[in-house]
Subunit: 328 residues, 2 copies
């Protein structure tokens, strides 16, 4: 990888702020010609935070390639809206009451209204995406949604508490990395930057998306419960074996609780789960997980070498690196 | 309207049969690269019948305009899939156990799996639609989904058992006519037939879509309960005032049950509902409703006059007329 000064994440977010504001305006516009409660739902969803990482990637990649800003911002809005739509349905399905500390839509609305709001967001994302006037971007967009949903269905129909490294990587690709991949690739498509550049961006997005989800899964063990808004090891409590647990299982196959999971399935006893979380934290699997996340980041950043060497490319690289250091 | 021999609905469906089979093949293909249970769900949804009216309209309009058959069939499949996706979520929201006499997906799967299957169908419809390689068709497509969902949300947030002719027409436009409109219009777009022809097709689709829903609403009162698979007046039982009831309310404002609804809202008593259904059937509002449906059909068929005068155009007109005579 080329050498350059790391750019602080804050100054990156500051740099794209006007663009992100435009993205948010485009999203809010979708509520204008619809039922007032849909507009309200959009406001709530937008104001409940989120780092807007996906549109930030699209915007930086677009700027780096001098793509048409209007089409880039439209596509960035479409991607954030698609992401939001999947969260609305996910929270409903998981019966989650809070997201980023704010009440979820399903905690306040009926299941029916929540399903329909998600559908409306999907439709609005598709409409915005068609405004970007690139059939290729739209194909990618709809295929990504298929990948995400197919991943969730597969997870739903697969037995819980079943370790498996391939399954884990497939799951986080479908769940997270596929949309990061698309967020980056669409900039290459809109810029008409050619196959090599677009594939470089795909790889960048995919690899940092994998890292992003791994860090999320690490923080589920290490994060401050007050900041995260959920107890440590909540994935494990839901029967989801993420990377740290996966590594722990491989490393300590004779650990009594590991044997219990392998033999009988999920740990239902709260004390057992607490014990396993504490043993995972005491082991070096967290550090190993960070190393794996860093490898993904490295591969993603390396993939960017065919891109023109400009400020926005350095921002993409720095942004990727900052994701491993985040604590929420 | 031009004069011509009416073509029997059966021979129309026979004429498009190979095309409809190709549409079904394209839809089934969507299940191939996904979780096996999604493929199974697609099979169940396809085999549970349905008249394929929407793709039939797209196919006939496409043939009439000599549009590229491959792109027409792709778009027709996309439209049928979008329709199916909305039904999957509707049945879940309404907790319906049967559709066309077959068990609904939500009667057999968890709510979560049903939400996700609908999402997968939306995504697959969007992917197929992007294969038709027309941005304009895609815009129409996503806008139609927004209209349908917005209509459902509006209905959900509006008090039930509230008569209103404008509300009724707005509701059936969003629920049904908007997708008929798009089914017809996309053929004009794909054929690059120009604004006048495409708008003619839009009008045709919209008007016969309105008629189609009115006939559905009439059959809810008059249909054979064994054929329909639901009791007479099921809309009224759910607090939905459709055209026949609407006309009855306007004509007999002093009818004791009409007064009861206007003063206190929904009829909850089963005997009251039975009485109102029977009084509606005895009055002439059913005939009046058919007349209104016929007016829509007439307007729709008249709109086709700019189209080339060929066999497929006559089939579209005959198909529209046959919808008023159907009994299920």
């Amino acid at each position: 990888m080329e050498q350059f000064d790391v750019i602080a994440a804050n100054s990156i977010f500051e740099y794209v702020k006007p663009d992100i504001q435009e993205v948010e305006r485009l999203i809010r516009l979708q509520g204008l010609d619809s039922h007032p409660d849909l507009g309200k739902a959009l406001d709530v969803l937008l104001s409940s935070g989120g780092k807007r990482l996906r549109p930030t990637i699209t915007i930086l990649a677009g700027k780096s390639l001098k793509a048409d800003p209007k089409r880039i911002l439209t596509m960035a809005a479409s991607i954030e809206l698609l992401h939001t739509a999947t969260l609305v349905h996910d929270d409903l399905i998981d019966a989650s009451l809070l997201r980023r500390g704010s009440p979820t839509l399903n905690s306040q609305w009926s299941a029916g209204a929540t399903v329909l709001t998600g559908d409306f967001l999907f439709a609005s994302a598709a409409r915005l995406s068609s405004d970007s006037t690139s059939i290729e971007a739209l194909k990618l967009f709809s295929q990504t949604l298929r990948t995400i949903v197919n991943g969730e269905i597969s997870q739903m129909f697969t037995s819980r508490c079943k370790p498996g490294m391939d399954e884990y990587y497939n799951r986080i690709y479908a769940k997270t990395a596929s949309l990061f991949e698309t967020s980056a690739a669409v900039a290459g498509i809109i810029a008409e930057a050619g196959k090599q550049i677009t594939e470089s961006l795909s790889t960048f997005g995919r690899e940092i998306g994998m890292a992003f989800q791994i860090v999320d899964d690490i923080l589920d063990f290490t994060g401050d419960e007050n900041v995260m808004g959920k107890p440590k090891g909540s994935d494990l409590r839901q029967g989801l074996i993420t990377l740290p647990a996966q590594l722990f299982f491989e490393k300590f196959p004779t650990h009594p609780l590991v044997k219990k999971v392998l033999e009988t399935g999920c740990l239902d006893d709260k004390n057992d789960i607490g014990q396993m979380v504490s043993d995972i934290l005491k082991s070096d699997v967290i550090e190993q997980s960070y190393n794996i996340a860093n490898d993904f980041i490295q591969k993603g950043n390396d993939a960017l070498s065919p891109l023109p060497d400009n400020r926005e490319k350095h921002m993409l690289i720095s942004l990727a690196q900052s994701q491993v250091r985040r604590n929420f």
